[in-house]
Assembly symmetry: C2
Homo-oligomer: 419 residues x 2
């Protein structure tokens, strides 16, 4: 194991915009009622002007405000780690690196965009943000960020998680956030990300002092996450590597995958791989189409791979990555052949997570464990062909608040879904 | 906020032994039956020879084996962080630094000694280690360390925690450890650290392939933790400071306090402060005497501050730091006036923890929160006298597996103990 750190002054000073580098231009989002292409004014009730601009710009680089950097320095730059223990255990000549995003206050990559969004909203005089959360990774990140900029934070949490997973609720409340179960008007409904987005958007649209913040999917969210890939590039160079052969990351809405991989889109020789759960196989089994981001149809229609906006993953599924749709940027890269996608059943994912924990010490979030599964298989496959591959993956969060899923796996209660 | 990191190659290569620097020589431990001073042979059934040597040596420096450094590099050197947000919120001219030990796989400083102990035992051909754990911080650290050296790990966990706090049990099992509730022979007893030590020592004494590992109190444990203070010294110098004016750390058995503060014992101008909970006030209200380390009286008699080996802290107490005794090294420093001790009620401790979380983002372990409370009060007191103090404290672990205590505090169910 070796780590490459960078001093706090070395956070990249600009985000990387992949828009000018796409194989084909992104299709615009459409108004949910008229189905006309969306303009900036349509988004103004929900988002600050700077974020709307970032959502649509073709500018290649966007400066990171100093106030955002000041907060990111609480944990960034994050380390790049070489998983030499895993390499030895696999008997592979592949060199396996991961970007460790688990050291943020919220324990995942999510605060990278939460901080930026909270800053832009506070600067525009907004006093309160609403959002949705599933297991709580994103809600916790936003609650943390809101505390940094003196904003109130209202989190609509999928009811099943709210009732079964109190720890991330407490975390959000410790940072001063308010958390309510969703859907708010159907107390018997277990909820889904789609219902929680509907609740959060409706709340924000109805109050002048309130905006809405989304933790994945949209272009500006992936933009804010590109610090991950930009830092990784710099650190790989410190480690003596030129470019990775393969970049691997888990994919739910696409933000951690985009964050690590988008800065490598212009490097034609670098393979980009999205890993998703077989129980929510958006990229591998969904269709590419315009669809709503939420269940109730309040959001714009986005051009993306989707399983249908009324899709609910089977309750047996323990991890995150449960979203019915996917980032339009990621969807376009997959459709145009610039990015690959694979899906794994959760039993195989947790098998890899436990192997990684015993070798490398770190207990991965279920999301990150999807990447670890794919990395192990990629390394073993490279060994068969004799390739000396450089593999880079996103360790997007720790699993310390997901231990009940590990318990279920260790007790044999987490069977593989059908393939 | 600013952080000072060191490259993985800069872990100190030797541990600092405080024994030659004590104001008066340490009294020897006594045999529990004969009350004669203990010799190395008395400890051989429980500990490897290298550890017994370290327990008794006067050598000023002890080399850290390369195999131990290799594992420590998974997360060490740990960052030194300046809490500028807290300084501003307090309006103090004090400069507040903390050593962040929360980034280890187990989330605390405990693996620093767990790794060393697992290594020495494995090198001697031991195949299995037993230990006790309360809330699970130490048991998790040892389970992680055993996985690194292919040792079996058997953890006797205080029954009340085993039943009420499943997360750290799952963490230990994820690393391959076995966990059973203690006391093993009294299924209705809620258990204590004292009963769990009795169970673990009895198990180890009865099997040739098995040794026992203790997570605090003993000299070799504090020795292994001195990397914390040695790194902090180096990093303070990078930050432009000469020496801290005050070093503050929480104290249960004394290992994180010793780890940070012992390397500063020879610096006469540096104040050293132990912070303990008012509900388990060993240093502030205990007596200095020989006492057993466990409830059943299997362990040697140690010269230390103690509340009596049958002491059980009130069940209302939410945090760690529940041990009836204290490290003989720490006890001697307090008795001889080289170290101060203060005690706080838990309501005041969690008030400081929530303030710290909202300002600095980090959710502290209840143990670390004791230090934060004392740091805030120290900074405010310095402000009244106009001193520009440099305060260094040990952020010895995160509280992500202690969120139920935060919940109790936020719900108003964590009243102060009587003063």
């Amino acid at each position: 194991m070796t780590r490459w750190t960078l001093p706090p002054g070395d956070i990249p000073s600009a985000w990387f915009n992949v828009a000018p580098h796409l194989p084909s231009p992104l299709q615009p989002p459409l108004h949910p009622a008229t189905r006309d292409p969306l303009g900036p004014d349509d988004l103004a009730p929900l988002f600050p002007a700077a974020v709307i601009e970032q959502e649509m710009t073709q500018a290649p680089w966007i400066d990171v405000p100093g106030e955002v950097l000041d907060v990111l320095r609480l944990w960034r730059p994050t380390p790049l780690v070489r998983a030499t223990g895993l390499e030895q255990a696999l008997g592979t000549r592949a060199r396996i690196y991961f970007k460790d995003e688990s050291g943020s206050p919220a324990g995942s990559h999510k605060p990278n965009t939460a901080v930026a969004q909270a800053f832009y909203n506070a600067r525009e005089g907004i006093r309160r943000l609403t959002t949705e959360t599933g297991a709580g990774q994103w809600g916790a990140a936003l609650a943390f960020a809101c505390a940094q900029f003196d904003l109130k934070c209202m989190v609509y949490m999928v009811r099943a998680s709210f009732e079964q997973k109190p720890y991330r609720r407490i975390l959000m409340e410790t940072w001063g956030g308010s958390v309510v179960p969703s859907p708010v008007d159907q107390p018997d409904h277990p909820g889904s990300l789609g219902t929680a987005i509907s609740d959060a958007v409706r709340d924000a649209a109805g109050r002048d002092d309130t905006h809405y913040a989304l933790g994945s999917v949209l272009n500006h969210v992936l933009l804010h996450q590109t610090l991950i890939g930009l830092e990784a590039r710099q650190q790989l160079s410190l480690a003596g590597e030129t470019l990775p052969d393969v970049v691997i990351a888990p994919c739910g809405g696409g933000s951690n995958l985009g964050g690590l991989s988008l800065p490598f889109v212009p490097d034609a020789g670098v393979r980009l791989v999205a890993v998703e759960p077989l129980s929510c196989p958006t990229l591998t089994q969904g269709r590419f189409d315009y669809d709503f981001g939420d269940t109730a149809g309040y959001t714009p229609l986005l051009p993306m791979y989707t399983l249908g906006h009324d899709f609910v993953p089977p309750s047996i599924h323990a991890g995150g990555l449960r979203y019915h749709g996917d980032s339009p940027l990621i969807s376009a890269l997959v459709r145009d052949g610039r990015m690959e996608a694979v899906a794994y059943p959760q039993g195989k994912v947790f098998e890899a997570a436990v192997q990684f924990a015993r070798i490398e010490g770190r207990v991965a979030a279920p999301e990150a464990a999807h990447a670890i599964r794919a990395v192990i298989d990629e390394a073993l496959a490279a060994e068969e062909t004799g390739d000396e591959k450089v593999i880079l993956f996103n360790y997007c969060g720790h699993g310390l608040l997901d231990l009940s899923a590990y318990d279920a796996y260790l007790q044999g209660q987490l069977p593989d879904e059908r393939g």
